[in-house]
Amino acid sequence: MSDTTQTGPVLAADGTPLKRSLMRALRREKMRALLLIAPLLLFVLVTFIAPIVDMLFRSVENEIVSETLPKTVVALEGYDFHTGEAPGEAVFAALAADLKIAVEAKTHTRLGSRLNYEKTGISSLFRKTGRDVKKWDLEADAPFREKFIAADKDWADPDVWRVIQTYSGKYTNGYFLNAIDMEKGPEGPQWRDESQQIYLMLLKRTMFLSITITLSCLLLGYPVAWLLSNIPMRTSNLLMILVLLPFWTSLLVRTSAWKVLLQQQGVINDVLVWIGLVDDANRLVMINNQFGTIVAMTHILLPFMILPLFSVMRTIPPSYLRAAKSLGATDWTAFWRVYFPQSIPGIGAGSILVFILSIGYYITPELVGGTTGVFISNRIAYHISSSLNWGLGAALGTILLLLVLVLYWLYDRIVGIDNVKLG
């Protein structure tokens, strides 16, 4: 054991270098910690991260065309729609062979509804032609060009072939283009016809309304949170129940209640007419517009603002305000210079919470928003559950997600995310 005296790495009791031994111990510690959180991590991965990644992927995925029409896609490679004519017999023969298989597997109609998002009429084109193709014999019935055109004259339309060719890749940026009111035109990306532009406008409106709702929540919530945190515990607990009460009421019930209150023959208008403030013929329009959406959503999201504000304000010692006043500050200065800065973490947390929740809301706007008070999430919901254009829904969702991340980053730069406190 004479080695131990020599200069060199310090050794642990078991003879390994101390550094390595320490590392091993630390690693074991880390592994243990990882094992402890493994169930949660796995849960989050499976139920949260994976679905989001899968959704993001749908916004560019476009395998259906090349999978359903593999031969046609290859045969179409040299085709130029500028000629103004449908492609030649080779392409139609390939199409017949592909459709024969697709009709057996009943995938041709699915492809039809996919391509119908890009060009109106393709859905029925594939459905109709499918019925004819079923009866054809690939050997005996050639050539197919005239047969297809006889089955439906749309096959002679070069624009149909342009769409098939444009969307023949495995991936596409088409959904993202659609999501910002553009489309893949004959000469590359172009703006959609003005009569179809809607998403950019909705995106702007969603931002505007969400910010307005966040601000009005803050304006209404701040005094309430201040009151709650400055009265005796017993009373504040009681009042807290009042804040939480709407939480426990069904969303639909609350929304319908706003209808009863705000509509033209509703309670508020009736009262205003009765006391003579409003003429019976000119009752106020307070619902089925942006105003209705803002009021109803502010009401629904208010607790999300009050709770973080309250928990932050509780930790601000009242003695600070008294100290400021004893040093000669007016009420306003004491509040603005001493109290308010300390409540900012609560404002940050509440605002982020309310903003992110309101950006994704769609049930309430659908019910009380009329035509001017609906959000982009209403269109996402429509594309997911009704039109089945999941790719477009995913692209819109991705854009919304990126927008939230950018805002979050901005907030971090301006206010600092360390400054957010939920309690």
Binding site: T120, S123, S124, I198, Q264, S386
Partner: protein, 364 residues
């Protein structure tokens, strides 16, 4: 020891017994009064005749298409029979998510001996879809708010001079575009040809523009009845069954305007890719639930017309109100003087395009 064995044996026995008993069948429908009518007319008698089947109700029909697609992708289909409207059924059939039905062999013959394809006739709009009821989207008006001459034509909706006040229309292009053209002088037979052109679409939007400021747009079937009951609107469109409830059950001062009502169908589909035993069970249920008597029975509980011709003579009185149901059916000759049938093929093509235009128009 013996006791444990006994217990084990007993529990094993009860397990096998319950699994044999629990031939559960999940049937998806719309909920509310409609599901109740199906429970009374179809489910209860079916379970009485087949004590080993237990029917579980799921009220997801309005998102059935999306959910079936998700189930199909996940490879785990938990539904056995699904109630959808015809346009959804066509979509499901196109996507390969619904099973094709051989109507004559897999459905019961009519009471009058006719084959199923004859009995349902032109209502068989998709290979996957078994029609159940004919319902209509039509108008109703407040009798006390429209003056002395009540509206008699669908075009009165567009007549602000004669009937000033708000009206409610559905927040989608379907039906509204057709009514707009009909009232702008387009013949009934030409509506879809005109609507296929850009100019025709512009014409329909221009007609709708004339009343746009006086319209409250609805998205849930219960909206119009509520708006009518509160006097928010003087007239509005919705499903005729909702209006029946408003008029006959809640006794509101509201009357029907059947002119240019748009017929639509609701019925069953069976999801594609069910295991064989569940498929057989689902087919057995559907065969029972769509026979002549069962379809006529449903009309006792809700004012929707049975889809089989042979059921019409069997429609009787409302089970609770005791009134004759026939005059309240959209298919009654008095009501069906001027009707319109939802053109499924056409809307399958134009829906995406026109919906984008309609939403952009609304937002303007």
């Amino acid at each position: 020891m013996r006791l444990t064995k006994l217990l084990l044996a007993a529990s094993a026995l009860s397990l096998t017994a319950t699994s044999a008993m629990a031939a559960e069948m999940t049937i998806v429908s719309w909920g509310g009064a409609y599901s109740k009518s199906q429970q009374l007319a179809y489910h209860d008698p079916y379970m009485a005749a087949n004590p080993d089947v237990k029917i579980i109700n799921d009220e997801s029909s309005n998102e059935a298409v999306a959910k079936l697609r998700a189930m199909n992708e996940a490879g785990n289909i938990t539904w056995d029979v699904v109630d959808v409207v015809a346009s959804d059924a066509i979509r499901l059939c196109d996507e390969g998510l619904a099973m094709e039905i051989d109507f004559d062999s897999q459905l019961a013959d009519g009471d009058d001996g006719s084959k199923a394809t004859e009995d349902f006739g032109e209502l068989l709009v998709s290979d996957c879809f078994i029609p159940q009821i004919v319902y209509s989207t039509t108008f109703a008006y407040r009798t006390d708010l429209v003056g002395d001459t009540p509206p008699s034509s669908v075009c009165d909706i567009f007549d602000l001079a004669k009937y000033p006040g708000k009206r409610s229309l559905e927040k989608r292009p379907i039906n509204n575009m057709e009514w707009a053209l009909l009232c702008d002088g387009v013949a009934k037979g030409d509506v879809y040809d005109v609507l296929s052109t850009e100019a025709g679409q512009a014409q329909a939007f221009a007609k709708l523009d004339t009343i746009k400021d006086s319209v409250i747009w609805w998205s849930a079937g219960a909206d119009t009845p509520q708006l009518l009951a509160d006097g928010e609107v003087i007239m509005g469109s919705t499903y005729n069954g909702r209006l029946f409830a408003l008029i006959e059950e809640q006794k509101q001062p509201v009357a029907m305007l059947w002119d240019a009502q748009v017929f639509d169908l609701d019925g069953w589909i069976i999801p594609a890719g069910l295991p064989d035993d569940r498929k057989q069970a689902a087919l057995d249920y559907v065969r029972f639930a769509t026979d002549t008597q069962r379809l006529a029975d449903q009309a006792k509980f809700i004012s929707y017309g049975p889809a089989r011709k042979s059921s019409a003579p069997l429609v009787g009185k409302h089970a609770e109100l005791g009134i004759e149901m026939a005059p309240h059916m959209p298919t009654d000759p008095e009501n069906a003087k001027n009707t319109f049938l939802y053109n499924y093929e056409w809307w399958a093509d134009y829906r995406d395009d026109l919906d984008a235009k309609f939403q952009a128009w609304l937002a303007k």
